[in-house]
Subunit: 221 residues, 8 copies
């Protein structure tokens, strides 16, 4: 059952995003095979949900070729991207434990040449924090809001600003938080008009949605 | 299978609340039997979740003896209560469709001689509305917050005031609102410290919880 | 318990969308009160999830003032909008039973002065239909994709075009379709990068998300 | 992505409870950063859901500054609190495996200067145990009842005493216990009037709810 | 597609219970066909979950041959049974709305020649009621306990008596009661040893389980 | 928003099945439009999940052109099919209330020129019935097994015969039957090797799966 | 927070079963405390769901005093019981992986002086195995049937024998087996009349239910 | 409690498939006992869901007698099968992480003397890949389609080819993927006519279903 990996090396041309590899559920042999194939074609890759154990299981030459960030479990393979767009995307988080996903968003955006702005720790149980920090991102084109538990933050933000808002529910919390399903359902049922949502903890997907939007705003980029 | 109804006529003495009858799932014959039993003992009753169809199926003499409110589906049977405590309880609602439950809370409190204050339509998708109205209830002893869908309101209130807060999730909305389960889970997973919650749409239960609290504050009442 | 309705008449200025009233769960008296309040201020309203029974229960003068569409259960109250933007939004549907939601999206967009383009009945069980019709909407700025049951359509579209994509899961089907939850979860778990999703059947929310996007793309509009 | 931690150091003044840090989902670096920030301001902290592994990963100076209790997974950081209120709160538990949460409640209350009374192992499958012990807490102002599995205890207590009752469902048991969801739903559906509930295993939240109550009873405290 | 109905007319001999027809989901034509087939063989039948509408749709001769009880939605077809065993089964219910299921149990037992004893309205939110009534059924061989919502009653009974206990969860209540699933799960997770449970509202099944037991106790019966 | 219906009139050639219209969720105007389009092209249609109310809402000329069967809620539109294959498919049902789905399977097969054999009322709570009837279908090429509640029948059949088996879970029953989800999950978790399953109540889909199989067996048919 | 353990040492007298300790969720210190208390009173104990790790964490003197069986995770503490009743209880299992629970049932029965008979590996996907073995247990008073996955076995047994049947759903399997919930729901929805069910994997509870039955059958035992 | 293992050694004759042992949930002692029994009878066995840890715990002589494949967690015990049928079954997978299940299907087929063809990595987010590879399997008799997350692949394939299609949902993904339940439900709700489905990750079951099909097509095989 030998296999060629059918990678999507033309994705950049077709839908404007670089190729990314979702590592969870792949063996280290499979990931290594993909990296060698990319190397042969001279293509850069973004690895997501890539555990430290998986990186450790790669052979040293591959491991060293990776720019790995354990907090976000992402890695860059290939020549580093140079940033073009700056501060078009705001990342707003409710609490400290949302930072790994915020970082996954940031790393995905940077891989696609876009540097975001971050406003952290502004959960609505302490409302004044959000109100103090929101002006910092008022000129961003799109807001990605990361929140877990009751996920009230995107609703409040959505009532205050006119920009597109992408909610990222978090799997933090316990019991009634239901591994993020409560945050997900809460965002979907929000009464702030025009929120959109991605999968629980899906920082990569939220960044891609932001990139689709930036591309629509600035087709030349 | 003839039955005597084992009503809890001493509840007032034991736990400080008048006897209430949960009508849903009871036949009109059963409710009539209960009303006659209460009448024989000269006891007042509060009927909850009492549908217009149930009231219509009672015989005229009973129906006329009821002080029935169709919005909240509650009825008083027996001599009307006189209010003693005023404005100790605040009822805060997110939207217009929360009013039937707000009214059930109010009617339950009035039946137990307590007149609440109401702040309506202050959902957090329009944050300034809450901020404008919160001072009106700052001296209340306890806040009952009614909200559906994402149910973000109790979290925001809980971060702003020191009073006990009882959240009542609402079954409004559709799809991801899951008949109120999302609101319920969202309140339970809230990061505002010290919120407590009752069953979906359970205005009666929230009022009883407020009454237990008032009794603890003012034992003589 | 008399109430003033705390409508959000400044929403147009703040977040760029006209005021809309979610009618489900409101009594006809409540809706009538809202319409009179809007009339006094000369504000136009969009009514959503407004059943024929609710419209029929309004008094004739109000009922006649509504531009009501039973298929989408939406109504306009007030002076009709004039369209400014044309064909910036594509609505793509999988099957005939998705049309009520497509129509809700269209009516919400028209109320906000934007006329969409529609590509219907292109579910992926007959793939050639989608491939034949996709060029018709290639120059749209944003794609709203409506699909129920297995909801495979947004994934396929998302792999073919670079635009922002807003998925609207539908509550059609039975059994394993779980009233739209399968379509919702399927869209959220999609492997096409950068899809975003709104609540089941939430055509209004999808249109609002598209409007936020258009506003970001063309700030002057 | 360097961050200042936006701690809520004024919470004591605003809502009457000391600042607490929810440690689950935070890295040891994040927790260390928070402790240093608190230390610089001279603020005491309560750490909750703080695993032994997390404590072990802190550097020795921080670790030694903690008053850590592994059973409840709580820690005090800073000068120990002196108790003011005594025996205002009763903690009632159904079984031996409820003790870690009972201890979390006790430690949270002590951190806020309140010493509770404990009645343990009085599950209703052995009813006489509850009846023998209930008089011991009859003069408490508020009862916190911890129970898992079928969680029948708060219903029985709620029918016997007039005090405010805060139910804490436990994640003990297996199969139909559903990690505490059965206990949670059972408490919410209880027919004892006026029970309120917090999240599964949320001893911290229950203690905070009790503190809000005590503050309402004794505003000067 | 003409059909002979494959009834189980020998069930009485094989497993000691008369043939019963579950009517829900059967058309009136199907039920009529079954009744005619039973009539031809001279066999008595018990009809369960038989709605008034179904009975009304039968032709008059069949309808008159039924001994129909609308409360329990059961009917006897054929010669009435004569009671042999008396008071071997206790039926204990928590509230008034449990009576239709109690009646289904009673009617199923009577059809199998066993007359039960009933103790109603002894829910544990008013514990003294149970304690007063339990001696009345102390010499019964088996206890069937019907309870909805939090379903705490079988746990308390199970801790007090040594008999076999069959719990019947009820679909009463709303919200967190989840149409009886909370009562079902609560009974299954009970910490009283040796409770067994049947399906939600399944009075017929509980009666059959009691009959299996009586047959084991008195093989000659 | 005028629409041409994008029907799949070439389905017969491509995947070997005639075009079918799923009527649930379609308005009578939509169905009428589809029928007129089929009429113009001279194509026969199978209508599924077609309620009597929908048929009644069609105009008389269309209604009379339908060969409608209310039990299975199916209709034929166009020239009646002539049967070619006989007795290649066995339909085996557990109980009387499975007959509407059995009939939907039969009508779908007949529309595609295949006449099935039916073995009804052989649920495994009366095992001898199955054992007596199974020889009647021993020479069928494929077995479609319809069963609700615990859905044990396909497991037992699957252990006795070597043919392909398609399980159709039924939405009959109540409580723990969960509208057919228990039957569905039970079939999927079956320990009989090689069972396959379709959606709850999906007789049409089961018939199509059988047709795919027959086509593979007899490519010329 | 020092505690006396409120053990139920009189359970034998009251409900006819020896005291048992559910070990899951208890620390080794708590279990040791309970064992010492039992030792002081000279009471025997049955430990259930007692992991090898828990046993290993006890101090040697306690560990050696236990008669521990790792397969069933049960232990006896105190003088071994002498069997009185023999072969009154049949344990019937569907597959090899049901044996740990079968063993838990057997050990619980033996602790209460009753020796059961075992019929293993008779799942209904191979029907002849059950038919061959069922006569071996035809004279047992009660049947405990253990089955996972689709749990069809109790339905088939329930249709063949008149004895009381206690179903024990197993958490074996994966995916659609849902950790035993499918087996549980399948047993509850069974169409075999008079099955009763205990919690998933609850061998202890099933044995206790059988003991209640035996006590009703033979009061003198 | 010594046991003979009731293996189903005649399965080959009865339903045309060799005996397979589901290893999950069995101890290494149990598996060893089964292997010895098979060895005594000279029967070959297929082991499924057999973890490396289980293999490692077998004694060396047994371990060496196994042809073990860790990727698919399958092992052959006994003389290797010789392939008879070639390329009658197509295995089509959406992504790299579906390969372990594809391999389980292949190994099960090979054990039953059938060699399949594999088309991998053709998920519909990159539609051209599927369209390029589908002709390679156009002459296969049956298609097994493995897909996780939104599982759109079987729907697209089902609309393009007339063969029988067996969908295997995968447990890959996170959050909304719900451990494969979304993929399962999505396949069941598919609008492509005639798809059938097996349990999540159940490669063995899908292969058995394909074998039943091949046997129906080529009875002599």
């Amino acid at each position: 059952m030998s296999l060629d990996f059918e990678l999507d090396f033309d994705r950049q041309d077709r839908i404007g995003m670089g190729e990314a590899i979702f590592c969870e559920g792949k063996s280290s042999d499979q990931v290594a095979g993909i990296l060698y194939a990319a190397d042969r074609r001279g293509v850069s890759l973004l690895l997501t949900r890539c555990s430290p154990a998986l990186v450790a299981a790669l052979e040293p030459s591959l491991r060293e070729a990776l720019d790995y960030d354990p907090e976000s479990r992402t890695a860059y393979f290939g020549t580093p991207p140079s940033v073009v767009s700056t501060h078009d995307v705001a990342i707003i988080t409710a609490g400290t434990s949302d930072l790994p996903v915020a970082r996954e968003i940031e790393r995905t955006l940077l891989f696609n040449r876009c540097a975001p702005r971050l406003v952290a720790d502004v959960g609505v149980a302490g409302l004044w924090r959000l109100q103090a920090r929101l002006p910092d991102v008022a000129d961003c084109k799109v807001m990605v809001v990361v929140a877990g538990m009751d996920a009230a933050l995107p609703t409040v933000v959505g009532g205050l600003v006119p920009q597109p808002i992408i909610g990222v529910p978090r799997s933090t919390g316990y019991g009634a938080a239901r591994n993020g399903e409560t945050a997900l359902m809460s965002m979907l049922a929000s009464c702030a008009p025009g929120l959109t949502v991605v999968n629980i903890d899906n920082g990569y997907g939220a960044a891609c949605a932001a990139l689709r939007l930036l591309k629509a705003i600035k087709p030349a980029a």
